[in-house]
Structures are given as C-alpha cells and as structure tokens.
Symmetry: C5
Subunit: 339 residues, 5 copies
C-alpha cells in the first residue's frame, strides 16, 4: 500500500503514510490522496479489504469485485464515488503474437483516487514517477490524476498492436512462401486470431467505460476535464479500430493459406499429369515391340530400333509442345512459384 498526498499549494507530494493516517488525510477536503494498493499476498488482501470497507466504506459488492480478478471493464456510479474496472495489457514474453490482460480496479472520490491491482503495472509506475517529479497533475485534482493513469494504460496498448502488425506481415510472407503444407503456420494463425479477437473484445468494453466517463455522465468528473477523457477515448477508439482491422487481416490469412495450398496442389497435379502423359505412351510403344509374335515385320528391319527410338523422341516433344501451348509448362511463372 502506497499513499501519496498532495496538500493544496505544496511543492511536492508526500509519501510514507500508513493506513492509519488515511481517515485524517481524507477528512481534509483540500488534500488530494492517492492510495495505490498492490494485493499479491493473502495478508495484503486482508488489510486492503479492511481499508476499503472500513476507511472508505465502499459498497461491499464492489469491494468483493475489487479483490477478485477476472471481471469485465465497467464503471458504476455511487453517490460519493465512482467505481471502475479497466484492463491493461502487456505482451506475453514467450510469444510475440499473444498478450496478457491485467485488471486495474479503482475508485474516484472528491479528493481521492484508489487503485488496486494484483500485479505490478508499468503505467502506474510511470504516473508515480511523474507526480514525484512534478506536482502539475496533482494540482488539477483527483479526476485529472485518474486521467493520467488511464492515459498511461491505454498508451501501453500500442506496442501490443505493433507486435500484431509485424506478426501478421511475417505470417503472410510465410503463407506465400509455403513449403510443404506445414501445420505450424496454421497454429500460429489460429493463435493470432484468438489474440486479436480478445483485444477487440476488451477494447470494446473499455471503450464503453471511457465513453460514459468522457460524456459527462458522472458528476465526479468536472466538466473542464472532459476533453482530457475524450482524448483517452479517442486513443482507445483508434486502438479498437486497428484491432478490428487486424481481425479482418487475420481472417484473410486463412483464405490466403487455403488458396496458396490449392495453387500448390494444382501445380503438383499438373506436374504429375505431364509426367504420366509423357512416359505412359512411350512405355506402351516399348511394350508393343516387346511382344513375342513370330510374325512382326518391323522387328526384322535394319533400322527399326532406331526408327522407334526416334518416334519416341518425337512423341515426347509433341506432348511437351502440347502442354506448353496449354500453358502448363515453362512460361516463366512455374519456376517462380515452385522453387
């Protein structure tokens, strides 16, 4: 539990308070108090629960929701405060095409912001750094401080999207370069599809939360700060649009993969057909003169053998020309697409 207090007009935020100091700090309406709660262990969770219920007197249901994870983004208004859940995302370390969501629960009151998370947030850390170096954000009050936090969270969506972008491009290249129908590529497309769908969904709900916050629905957000929230909303809108875009592209990857495989199969069958079409008649010709009839005049002629060999070459060339005119061989693109 980290507590930051900005006393009106002070030149720096104060830190190092404990839960016991909170009632007094909150009582002075001119203070801005930010309580950042990190609930990793059971003891921490127990203490946090008691603070939320007894010091802040938040609704028991919201406290319950706060402490458990796996909630959807939402925002709910209570007479004295606003309860919100937002999701941050971070790239998964093992796979570039995947990401993890992290839940941030919080409360916004007249002169305080409470944030709760059960793992470290890069964006929370950034805001802490910021208020330690400048009191600018604090001077503008609790709603502005919250805006800073949300802004940081939304900004960190971008690197994940950039990862998607390069994953899609890379997969597309690999689909076209497809060597032997390998299933690994399909698994990756499937994974990416799943990630992008998830991102779309998460940002959609988040967007809803920010839309409601930024359009003056809640009295806790002063009107002069609405443009700032609208700005976060617009950023998220862009992210949502991009992830919709990526969803389309990933869906398209399946189509391409399928078409590329169909093309390859077509090429292979063409190869097989040409091959068979040339050797089968030649073998037949050889077979004919391998028959053991007593009366086969050609066999006795002097140059019969050479004549037959010549005919075979002729047949082979005719067939090759036929296929070439049909557009099945050579003519440039065969090489390109097969080798």
């Amino acid at each position: 539990m980290e507590i930051f207090v900005y006393r009106n007009g002070a030149s720096a935020v104060e830190e190092n308070f404990s839960a016991a100091d909170l009632p007094e700090l909150l009582a002075d309406k001119k203070n801005l108090v930010w309580v950042d709660l990190l609930g990793e262990t059971d003891e921490q969770l127990a203490e946090i629960k008691s603070v939320l219920l007894n010091v802040f007197k938040f609704h028991p249901l919201t406290v319950e929701d706060t402490l458990e994870t796996r909630n959807q983004p939402k925002v709910e208004a209570f007479p004295d405060y606003l309860y919100f859940i937002v999701h941050g995302i971070k790239p998964e370390e093992t796979s570039s095409a995947n990401f993890l969501t992290k839940e941030l629960d919080g409360y916004l009151g007249d002169n305080y912001v409470v944030t709760f998370h059960d793992e470290r947030f890069k964006s929370i850390k950034a805001v802490k750094h910021q208020i330690r170096t400048s009191t600018f954000a604090c001077r503008r009050g609790a709603a502005y401080l919250l805006h800073q936090i949300l802004d940081q969270i939304v900004d960190l969506y971008m690197p994940v999207l950039d990862d998607f972008d390069s994953s899609i491009t890379e997969l597309e290249d690999r689909v076209f370069a497809l060597k032997k129908g390998d299933d690994a590529i399909l698994e990756e497309i499937m994974d990416l599809r799943r990630s992008v769908t998830r991102l779309k969904r998460i940002s959609a709900r988040q967007l809803d939360v920010l839309y409601r916050i930024s359009h003056g629905e809640f009295p806790q957000i002063p009107e002069n700060l609405l443009p700032f929230y609208r700005d976060v909303h617009d950023h998220l809108q862009r992210i949502s649009d991009l992830s919709e875009n990526y969803r389309d592209l990933v869906a398209g990857l399946f189509d391409i993969h399928f078409s590329v495989v169909a093309n390859k199969t077509n090429d292979i069958i063409k190869f097989l057909t040409i091959f068979s079409a040339i050797w089968l008649p030649l073998s037949f010709m050889a077979g004919v003169y391998g028959m053991n009839f007593e009366n086969m005049p050609e066999l006795k002629t002097r140059n019969g053998y050479f004549f037959v060999l010549g005919s075979m070459v002729l047949v082979a060339i005719s067939l090759l020309v036929y296929f070439w005119r049909k557009g099945w061989i050579l003519q440039g693109s065969d090489k390109k697409s097969d080798e």
Copy 2:
C-alpha cells in the same frame, strides 16, 4: 411443495407448512414466504395450479406458462408481482460438449417468492441450505432472496463453459493430429457448435431479463438491491462474452480442419507424384531394352546391362535431387507432419 417462512426478527426459518397455511402466512406482510414448487407428477401439477390460481391469484396465462416448459427467459410486470422465467443449465452426463437447460419459473411479490421447476435444481438446493444455516439473506427481504437464487443459477453456468474450453482445446489438438480424414471429429465439432450457439442464445435472452431487472424498471426490486442484481448481470455478461468467444473458436475449428485436410492431401499427392516420377522413366528404360528388334547393338555389348542399370540409378538420383531442390522432399517438416 416446500414452504419456508421467515418471521421478522426470528432467528431461523420455519418449514413444514402446507398449502392450506399459505393465505394466513402471506397476509402478514412482515413475513417472508418462499414457496418452492416441484412439479414432477400430474398430481403435483394439479395442486400447484390450484395454489397459483386460487391462493396467489396470478394471471391465468402466466400460470399456464409456468406449468408448461419450453418457454423463453422473460420477465413481465403485473401490478402486484413480477413473473419471470430463467434457464439454468447442467452438463449432459454422456457428453462433455453438451448441456441441458432447465426452466425455472417464478413470481416475486412484496413478501413472497414463488419458484417452480419440474426437475431438481442444484442451485435451489444450495439456497435452501444457505437460509437454513443463516437468516442473513431472509432479513433483507424477498427481492434479495430472489437475487440469491439467480446468483446461484448463473454461477452454475461456469462449469459448462469450462467444459467447452477443454473440449475446444482437445478438438483442436485432434484436428492437428488428424490421422486419415476421420469424420468422427467433424461430428464432434458440429455438436460443440450447436451447444455453443444454444448457450449464446440462452444467455442473450437471460441477459435481457437481468438487464431489465437490474436497471430499476420494476418497483418490486428496491433500489438498494439493484447493485446486487447488476452484479448477477455482470456475471452473465461475462458468460455471454465467453460463449461468443467460444463460438468464434468453434467456427475456426472448421477452417482449421479444412486447411489441415488440404495440407494432408497436398502431401499425399506430392508423395504420389514423386513416386510416379521416379518409377515411370525407369520402367520405360527397361521396356526399351525389352524390345525384340533383331538389330539392337547395345544388347550385344558386354557391359550394356550394367551400364543401363547404372543409368537408372543416375536418373533416380537426379530426380530425387530435383525434387529435393523443389522443396518437395526431406528438409525436415515432411517427417513431422506425416508421422
């Protein structure tokens, strides 16, 4: 018919009443009465019908709806009471990828809750156990008791979703491990698709019911209990989102299955082509020297036979190298995807 009565301020709920006691119990507005009706046999149904019509004087049409099953979730307001239909689900015993729906009809009045079902409900049983051990829920009135029942019903959706999750993962693994195009896997995908679609649909209607209940549309739900209903709504929202997610994934299974089969077919045809391409020319060469021309100089040479055998090996090797350079053989992934 089980009747639970909580008299205001009492330390425990009373049970073992009969239908005949109901008018008196209901008349005292300070009592909270829960009538749980199980209609399995025709006699039970007849008695239930008479109680609903004569004791509670519910609208004849709602009573008719109550007694027949196969209704959609809905909620309808009448001057004195709220009529609702919700669906519980339970996994089917024989198949992990399937589930059964169970209909729960009910009425919520000022001081009573009536529930009707034609088979046992695990969630109803849980709430009964709860009010027998603690009067906490009863002290908060009829609407809160109903909230407890709905909460339990919605919580029991989760195990079914978890089943889906593992079914999808398992099917995906099997699709990729596909040995010989087996149709069994297709049947399972189809079954799952059907189940997930059903779940999506059911939860959509249910969501609608809970949205209306939890947004203050009905005076029967006191305003201070709305957050509790919103909580159930949010849980259901999450379930609905997840089932939407699963629907996407199951739809994707078809795409993958198809692509995997196309890949396999491609591999097989490649195999066939390579095989034919190697043996056909060799057979032709053998055929040539099997011809019976009298004048075939090679036949008389001393090492003609061995020379021809050597040429055959050479041709075979050249072709293998050709295919290897084309990327059709070896190079690692062939093994992986076929064996």
Copy 3:
C-alpha cells in the same frame, strides 16, 4: 361468407346471416360480429369487395390490398379499425422440407372482426369450432376473438418447424454416410436453406406486427387483453429463434458436406498412392529382367527367378509397413469411414 353473431349474454353464437343483415347487426354495439370471407371465385371476390367498401366503408387501398395476395405481414391503424395482414404456413405435401404461406387479411373494429383468405385455413376452422361449442371467447369481445385466431395460426407454425428439425437430422446423417459425391443431397440442403430463410423472414415481419399489437400501440386492443397478445408474441419469438437456429444448422450442413467430401477425396488419393507405390516398383523389377541383353548374369543362375519373386514380396511388405507406420493404412478408422 360466413357470419357469426354473438348477442350480448346469449348462450350460443348465431349463424346463417347474409351480407344484407350486416348493417343492422353492426349497428347494435352490443353484438359481436365475425365475418369470415373466403374469396376463391371471382363472384365471391366481387361480393366481398362490395361488402368491405359499402358496408364497412374501409379505406379503398386496404380493400385493394385485402383482395390481392402476396402482401407482407403488417398492421395499420385507422380511426375506427385496425387493418392487419398475417401469414399462416402449412407443410407442402410433396416435400417435408418445404412449406407454403397463406395470407390472412383482417379488420378489427369495436364490435366486429373481419377475416379474409383465398384458401381454407385450418386455424380459422378450429376457432369456428371453438366458438360453436363455447361462447367463452365471444364474451370477451372482438379483440379476444382475434387473439384466438392469431394464436391458432401461430400454433400451426410448430409442425413445420418439427419437420425442419427431422429434415436437418436426416440430412446430417446422410452427409456423413455420403456414398459417391451425390448431388441430390446438395439440392436438398439448398431447398432446406431456402425454406428456413423464408421462415425466418416471415416470422420476423410477423413478430413486428405482434410486437406492435401487444405493446399497447393501438386503442382497439383493450389493455386487459394485452397479456394474451404478448403470449402470442412470445410463441412467435420462440419460433423465430428456432428458425434462426435452424438456419445456422443448415448453413453448417454445407461446411460438413464439404469437409466430408474433402475427407473422402483424401482417403481415395491415399488409396491410389499406396496402390501405385507398391505396383510401380514391382513392375519395374519385372521390366529389368525382361530386358534382352545378352550378358545378364542373373538370368542364368538357377534360382534367380525365385530370388527375384522373393525380393518383390519383400519390397511390397516393406512398403506396406512404411505406409502403416505413416498411419495411412489399417489402424481401424479406414474401414469405418469407407464402408
């Protein structure tokens, strides 16, 4: 033209009136008059037109709409009456997966119901039977009588849906049992798809009509009868949901059919490949020893022939083992899916 009159308080409906009696009957506001018009012949149509225009004085455009078929379901309010078009459906006799729509036009006034149809309606017949045996429905007034008619019409949708259900199940079985790519099954899937799409569309428009009627938009429907109309609406909602469901399933049939065919093709090509892969090398071996070189030492050895035969068996067995280990033969499912 059949006219049913229920005089207030009477114990039975009266029949056998003619068009000439209508003005008098309608003038007494305490009568309930139901005029059921069957317009099969041109004379009937002419008489009906005159009655609608001169006796009831309905708007000329609605009369025109009434007499021509091929209208969409709709409901339109006029100061004194409500004009509605609904569609009944009946299974087509020749094909279980198809249905015909029948249009019912009608007017609802304060004390009368007018229904027009150009072919016999099973549901109209049922309501006639009902009011002949009991005056219950008539006592509740014109709007209730109309409710009875609509209820019967909607109830008769159900058998068509049941037909769909069994058609889909049967088709699914046949798709999986697919013997030789037969197109007949595709034609049936296409037919069913068309029927289900039509049903979806019809019920959607109908739903719209019933929604408007059942939500108090029209003063012609007394408020105490709204629950009855809502009930019809709910039934139709269920039908609409089911037909949506069937649409999904039928769309899925194409996917399965396609996948099953792909599986079969894969199996066949596998068979061809195995066959070729075994016989081609064997034939080559026979070809080698069919060459006519003078100096082929093996030919002179005593057991050369038997040795070669043995090698051939060995090669064949090795190849079979190879394919078996690749998972291309035996291992159970091959039999199952092909025979």
Copy 4:
C-alpha cells in the same frame, strides 16, 4: 419540356404550354401544374436550369444536383417545396441478369410537380397517358399525382426481379448439370451477385426516402394521402425483401458450385483410382512372365499361359467386387451424376 395543367373543375388536362406561361399558371393556386423536363441535349439542359432557378426559384444546390446524374435517392424539405431523387430501373437489353438505373429528380410544391430525367421513363409515359384519359388523379392534387408517378416507378422494379428469379433458377440447374469445370457459369454468378447487391442497395436508400415521405414528416403531403404513400412503401419493402432473398440465394450458388466441383473431382479421382488399381497388378503379372530367366518352370507347362490369363481375370473381378463393396462403383448414383 412538357407542361400539363389541370384547372380546378375542368374535364381534361391542358397541354402545349411553354416555359413562358409558367409564372402565370403557377400563380393561380387552384391550378395543378406538372412540368416534365427531359434533359437530353445541352440546350435543353440550359433552358431547364434557367426555369428551375428563375421561375421556380429552387435552391441553387438542388438545381445543380438535379442536372447532374449519379446521385443517391434522397428527399429534402425546403420551406415551400420538397426535393426528391428516386431511381427507376430497367432490364439491360443484352443480359437478363443485369439492369440499368435511371435517375428521376423532382420537386413537389403546393400546386405543382416538377420532374426531371435525362432519358425516357416508361413510368412517366404511363402517368401521362393516364391523366390524359382521366382527370381523377389530377383532381386529388399535386401530392397524389406524385404518388402515381412513384407507384409506376416502383411497379417497374418487379419485372427485373422476375428476371433475377429465372436467372437464379437457370444458373442453379446449370451448376448441377456442370460439365467440365467451365468458368462461364462463374462469371454469370458473379454478374448476378453484383446486380442483386446493387438492387439491394438502391432499394434500401429508396425505402428510406419513401419511409420518410409516408410517415408524415413533410407538410407537403396531406395526411389523407399518407396511406397511398405507405402503399408504395410496402411494395418497395417487398421488393427489398425479395432482393435480400435473392442475394442469399446467389451467395449460395457459389457454395453449391464449389461443392458440385468437389463432388465431380471426387468422382473422377475415384475413377482413376479404380482404373489404376485394376490395371497395375495385371500389368505386373504380365511383366513377371515376360522376364527372361532361363529357369522359370511355369513357362514350360502346357497350360501356364491360360492359367495366368485366368488368374488375371480373377484378380480383376476380385478388385471390382472389392470396390463395389466399398461403394465406389455402380450402385446407381454414379451413372446419374456423371452422364
């Protein structure tokens, strides 16, 4: 420029006025004036522009829109008049599955209707014929005259839809009768798809225009004429629904085509497989006895040759029986689907 004037109470419309007469004609509010403008040449367009701007004093932007084509259907209200654009369609002469759109721009004032088009309209011609033979439509005022025009335009959509209907049926038959994968059919499906999509889009916008006109949004349309406009709206609704229907069916054609081709390919590969499976072993047998080993006891037996021939027949029959039992040959449907 054709001007029709109906003076109140007159028994016929008057014609043969020129642009110069317009101010006077329009000044008398009891006249109904219809100005039909055909702008084919540049001179006509110049004159029309001047009339619209100087005589009628329409907003310059609407005049600009009027004179250029390629606008969307729309309706816009100005204080004194209504400006509308609707699209008529006519079948293209060269192809039954295609149609052309024609734009009709117009203005509706208190006592006048102005219509502009840059090619001849069959429906305009029909209305002219109608008002020349009967003053009925004119007596009902400008809004009713406009209704007549719109009604005619919408009615002429129907033949195009009927063309679609027969095109789809014909294409479906041809898809099933598919002989040699011919691409011509694909081009036609694609063309039809494009046409139907276009029709859907056009009727959707048009529907919007008529919905707004027919629901009392504009004071230029007297309330007693609204049912007439609603009637046109309903017709268009039906057309829009039908074209939606056709869109589904055409989209389905691709699925069927694809499935039919897959079926055919499957049949062909089956044929190839059976053929190869029979001849390959027989050829091998012949090859064995064509070997030149000195010690091949069978070659010397008296009936060896006949015995081998018999074995060959036996092998062939066994294989045929095997394939027949596998369901790959005969059994009726093979014939049907291939010949």
Copy 5:
C-alpha cells in the same frame, strides 16, 4: 503559414500577412481570416504551436492533437470554435490499388478558418486558387469557406475509387485467365482488400463528422449553409456506399479465384484420368504378348500381331467414345477453358 484576409465588401482577398498581424485582423469581426498552416519542419511546428495557443487560445489538448498526426476524423465543439479532423486521400504512386491518407486539422470560428496539414494538399491549393480569382466564397463567410475546402477534399476521393474499379475489373479478368496457380494475383487481391477496408473505415468516420456538422448540431454553422454541408455529406455517402460495394466485390474475388482453381484442378485430373485410362490397358495388352510362355498359340498365328494392334486401336477408340459420352472430352468448352 499563409494568411488570407477578405475585408467585408472588398473586391479581392489580401495576402502576405505574418503571424504578428493576426490579433488585429481577427479583432475586426467583419474580416474573414483564413490561416493555412503547413507544418513540415520543426521550426514551423514550433511557430504554429505558439500561434494556436497564444493568438487563438485554442484548448491545449486540441493543439496537441493538431500537431501530431495519426488521429481519427472527428469534430468537437468548444464555446467559441469548432475543432475538426478530416482525412484526405491520394493514390499511392507505386501501386494503383493503394492510397495514402493525409490528415487535415482545422478550427472554425466566427470570422476565421484555421487549417493545419503536414504535407501539401491538392484540395487546399485548389481553394486558394479559387478565392484568389473570385471573392464569391469569401463573401459568404467562414463556414462557407470551410465547406469549399471539405468539398474539394471529398471530391478527390473519387479518382481513388475509380482506380479501385479498374483494379477490380483487371484482377477479375486475370483470375479467370489464371495460368498456372500463380500467387502474385492472390497478393494483389489481398492488397486491394486491405485498401478497400481502410477506405470504408475512413469514410465511415468522416461521414459521422459530416453528418453531425450538416444536421445543425453546431451553432458555428449558420442554418442557411446546412444544405451545402448536406451536399458534401451526400457525396461522401455515395463514396462510402461505393467502397462498401467494392469490398463485397473484392471479397468475391477470393471466392472466384478459389472456384477457378478448383475448376482447373478438376480439368487437369480429368486429363490425367483419361490419359491413364487409355494407356494402362493398352500397355497391359502389350505386356500379355510379351510373356515368354512356350505354349501361347496366338504368337504363332500369321496375323496375330496385326490383330492385336487392331484390338488396341479398338480399345482406345471405345474408351474415347466412353469419355466423350461422359462429357469429359471435346464438346467445345474444354478448349475454351484450357487454352
């Protein structure tokens, strides 16, 4: 920074002002001031930032948005001015099926328009040329001047759409002419798909901006100018509809490509099958008479050889006739689709 000033009643716009003149120019409410800002270098950006913040005193957030690119189209109202972002597009030089977006930010005040862009805009240049030659647009005030700019931007969408049109047609032709499954065509379809999707998305957001501007939501736009904005909106609507249309067509290209490849594969396999079906039995026949049995009576007959050759021709012809009757060869379309 280019500043254009139109003093009320003047006969020409004045230019060549600097940032320092702005406060004075803006103070006179009868002047119309257009400040066009081109921010290519860092110095320019710094100066622009200072002008926007200090001279115009725009909200700091909007100034931040203005200076950074990659924003979505939007419009936001502030008490004294309107802030908007719109996107222009221009075809990419290297590829006809691609386009670049250019962001234009701007502010509309009572007597001024501010536009900002970080690269040259063809449409801005056109408007500058226009106001230099005629003061018509300036006389109508700031909102009209803005309308001119937007109109030019939207007009320049059209050439990009025309490029799409020809790209689609060309791709369609190439898909049908498909020679050897070449992947290049798939890459182009994919590129086009991406471009069209982007255009759809951009025009959708833009449409939203113009809808809000043109429907009287903002007091900065005088009511008499709304028709002009509605006109721009209608143009954009048409573009949006067209791009939706193109999206459908491009999606269709995949279907066709796939079907065409399937057709080709079918043709090739048919060819292979016919070829094999003819040569395999002939080779077998030759093989039979190549056997070395001592007792093969046919071998000794005089015309055995010629009789066998004749039989071979007969078998070949019979098979050809069989395939011809099956519809697999000749009959016209084979030639057409393969060569």
